[in-house]
Symmetry: C2
Subunit: 143 residues, 2 copies
DNA sequence: CGGAATCCCTCCCGATACTG
DNA sequence: CAGTATCGGGAGGGATTCCG
């Protein structure tokens, strides 16, 4: 079983390295991956990019409630990590297309396993939350 | 295919509701789930809890670099969502045991699919990052 | 059209101290 | 032992503006 924990003493903090010091070896693969796709938008962008390449504004429209900034940031991160490619066409007006790489495609499978689970069990989770009582913790709500 | 996007106009923000207004229906299951397990510690705690129940300080020791506060918070969230149970033994000194629920166990499978993928492809990602050049973005680094 | 720069604000999370 | 209260820094992310 692959490890999730950090290696020994090293903190797991995946501080994105400064510009001139690229992130080299991460102590833990899964943490590293999660810190990329665990954000608000990455999964959604990857899914939207399937199956065919799309342009920036296409993605904006299809996703609907993402800001330009976040779409831009997300795309750049995904490109950096090799999940997607970015192709610029020297036209007026400019056109930029994003497309899944083989790595990106291969990621869709485990991702969908997780998405499927989430979909199947979301009701259970919501129900659990509603049933949840702060329990026998005997302190009072502060104020 | 289960949807990832938000439903229509509703923002995806999964603002944890205020204390007296529990989070009812989330617009998107996968987002909801990701916002729980996408944090720094949840996956690690779940994995550490497998296969047998463990006590608070056991978890502290095994994980190693988690603070008491974050362990406490993480456990509470996982308990709320029905991934784990919390059992308090009225002893001196106190003893509290955490254990995976069936829901928690069932989550381990898709989770490991993802972990496995991360493990298999982490090298590719690291390599992609190293190869990455800011590319043909034609503006100059601001200072 | 496809971004980048800036502002700002909200969580996340660590460190510490205190409690039953 | 098993937490909670509190403080505070920093990352995440929305809105807007500017620029090629």
């Amino acid at each position: 079983m692959p490890k999730i924990s950090s290696s020994k003493t090293s903190p797991l903090s995946v501080h994105s390295a400064s510009a001139n010091e690229p992130p080299f070896e991460q102590p833990c693969p899964i943490r590293d991956v999660l810190n990329r796709i665990g954000d608000q938008w990455s999964l959604l962008v990857l899914e939207t990019l399937y199956p065919e390449k799309k342009r920036f504004n296409e993605l904006m429209r299809e996703i609907g409630d993402i800001s330009k900034q976040m779409l831009s940031r997300t795309l750049k991160k995904l490109e950096q990590d090799g999940f997607i490619t970015r192709e610029v066409y020297p036209e007026i007006p400019p056109r930029v297309e994003y497309e899944l790489t083989p790595l990106g495609h291969s990621f869709l499978k485990p991702m969908r396993t997780l998405v499927g689970w989430a979909d199947d069990h979301h009701r259970d989770i919501v129900n659990a939350r509603q049933r949840y009582q702060p329990a026998e913790r005997q302190w009072q709500q502060p104020k």
